[in-house]
């Protein structure tokens, strides 16, 4: 059964050193309040998986020294440009980047979702993405004739972590059309979710709501976090990205000192508020 926890710190305690963690992109549901609590805990050596890319929250975790591996198709702050801490870490050689292409991440997660050892996909052959991934293999399509195809092993994160609009007390989480969150939850061993609101009733009872709901079966632990995606927005709600803040982040995070000041002001300094 889904554990209902009452503090972000209790949820953050489940994010342990070295965990492989599936992260949604900025336009899906980012559990930013939770990530701030994780940073305050001083977690290390995370292996982030962008599904299929990540942005602000991953850059924040990288800057805070929590990340060892970034496996992703891209890291970007969108209109605010390059992710500065990611860029600095790559140039310094202080994180390992496993570059991917979006559908390869989806293919790996879908293999895990299906309980299959791998998925095959077209594309990739002749790219340096493939050349640098010794965990992917080129095999022969058994239904073709001299037809190479790329095998992507099942990608089973230790954790899927995201923020959503609402959940009920059975642990069911409504995600609407953001189905990548469902694939993440199916593929991961455990799933941690923060939501704007825990509602009464059963989200699986109404067929309309059920169509966009991840069953509690897949949700390990859940906490309420108002505006938990801030400074990102949240789809299908009134919460829009705080572009002013993100621009400020992009600016401050350009230097190590600026990033340290950002952390002090908005992460370690926010503890009391969250």
């Amino acid at each position: 059964m889904t554990e209902m926890v009452t503090s972000l710190d209790a949820l953050a305690a489940r994010v342990t050193d070295g965990a492989t963690i599936a992260l949604p992109p900025d336009y899906s549901g980012c559990a930013n309040a939770l990530w701030r609590a994780v940073i305050r805990r001083g977690v290390k050596d995370l292996h982030l998986v962008g599904v299929p890319v990540f942005g602000y929250h991953g850059d924040l975790l990288i800057g805070a020294g929590c990340v060892k591996v970034a496996e992703t198709s891209a890291v970007t702050l969108g209109e605010h440009g390059l992710a500065p801490r990611f860029t600095a870490a790559v140039k310094a050689g202080s994180i390992i980047v496993k570059d991917a292409t979006c559908p390869a991440i989806h293919a790996g997660l879908q293999a895990a979702e299906r309980g299959a050892p791998f998925s095959v996909m077209r594309g990739l052959i002749g790219s340096d993405i493939l050349a640098r991934r010794d965990d992917w293999k080129v095999i022969d399509n058994p239904f073709g004739d001299n037809d190479p195809v790329v095998a992507i092993p099942a990608l089973t994160p230790d954790l899927a972590v995201f923020h959503a609009a609402k959940a009920d007390r059975h642990g069911n989480v409504w995600i609407g059309v953001r189905r990548e969150l469902m694939v993440m939850a199916h593929a991961a061993r455990d799933t941690l979710v923060t939501v704007e609101e825990i509602v009464d009733g059963d989200l699986m009872a109404d067929p309309a709501t059920k169509a966009g709901t991840i069953p509690g079966l897949y949700v390990t632990a859940l906490a309420e976090a108002k505006e938990g995606s801030w400074p990102q927005g949240l789809p299908a709600t009134d919460l829009v990205a705080d572009q002013g803040h993100l621009a400020r982040y992009a600016e401050m995070a350009k230097t190590e000192d600026g990033f340290a000041a950002y952390l002090a002001e908005y992460v370690t300094g926010r503890e009391a508020a969250e």
Binding site: S73, A74, H106, S127, I129, R179
Partner: protein
């Protein structure tokens, strides 16, 4: 810029739209206002027969199956055209969205390859789009191949480069010889200025025309309906190019 009061963006939009007319479904990635406007122009001229999916837009997004659907849809053969760019693009149409120098300790690092490692292979008309046409961006050999321009004959590849448009010119793609061919130069540019600013070898036909300007009717459509539509997605762009404020 020459060409009376027609702006470069309008020439680009017009030129790209000409490559999209008659297609069933054009997808446009994030942060792509010019391709987006071109796709909306092609849709307007098709009487609605051309479908346009603009990623990152709520109004022009016809997907309901999560982040994978664009790629699935392309793999199903349901996307006829897409746009890719590159920090570097080379004469073999290889694109680099990752890094300059050794990828493990790069001199510059970009966001990453996104979906290019798949879409470049499966979308029939991939239009390369690069608004900085210099020897720094259009290079002899990219430092990292996010996706190759061409593949061995036994590699499944229904898709690939269809053309490349820059702020200076339009290149065709000669698939047999795996080379770019200069198709037209934008107003103000010459065959020589292109050569000067391009880091790779390409073919130059005897006659290289100037990229045609949109006619009055197209300009009116672009500055009217298309400007309004694109303003919903890229208000800043619509304001800068078309002088249009997004309605509140």
């Amino acid at each position: 810029m020459s060409g009376s009061d027609v702006q470069l963006e309008e020439i680009l939009i017009h030129t790209i739209a000409g490559m999209l007319d008659g297609l069933r479904h054009v997808a446009v990635g994030a942060s792509s206002p010019v391709p987006g406007a071109a796709a909306l122009l092609a849709r307007a001229r098709s009487g609605g027969a051309t479908r346009v999916s603009v990623l990152g837009s709520e109004e022009h997004n016809f997907f309901s199956d999560g982040g994978k659907e664009l790629f699935d849809c392309a793999g199903q053969g349901r996307i006829d055209a897409f746009f890719l760019s590159g920090a570097q693009i080379d004469g073999k149409a290889n694109i680099n969205l990752v890094s300059i120098g050794d990828p493990d300790l790069p001199k510059a690092r970009f966001p990453g390859s996104f979906g290019s490692g798949y879409l470049y292979y499966v979308v029939p008309r991939v239009i390369l789009f690069r608004l900085e046409h210099t020897r720094r961006t259009l290079v002899e050999q990219v430092d990292f191949i996010s996706a190759p321009g061409f593949s061995e004959p036994n590699v499944y590849r229904p898709g690939g480069p269809f053309a490349m448009i820059t702020d200076r010119c339009l290149f065709d793609v000669d698939k047999d010889n795996r080379r770019f061919v200069l198709k037209s130069v934008h107003p103000g540019e010459t065959v020589e200025s292109i050569a000067e600013n391009t880091g790779f070898q390409y073919d130059v036909p005897a006659e290289v025309p100037t990229t045609p300007l949109p006619d009055a009717e197209t300009l009116a459509l672009m500055r009217g309906r298309i400007a309004t539509e694109i303003a919903e997605i890229y208000p800043g762009f619509a304001k800068r190019v078309f002088g249009l404020e997004k309605a509140a």
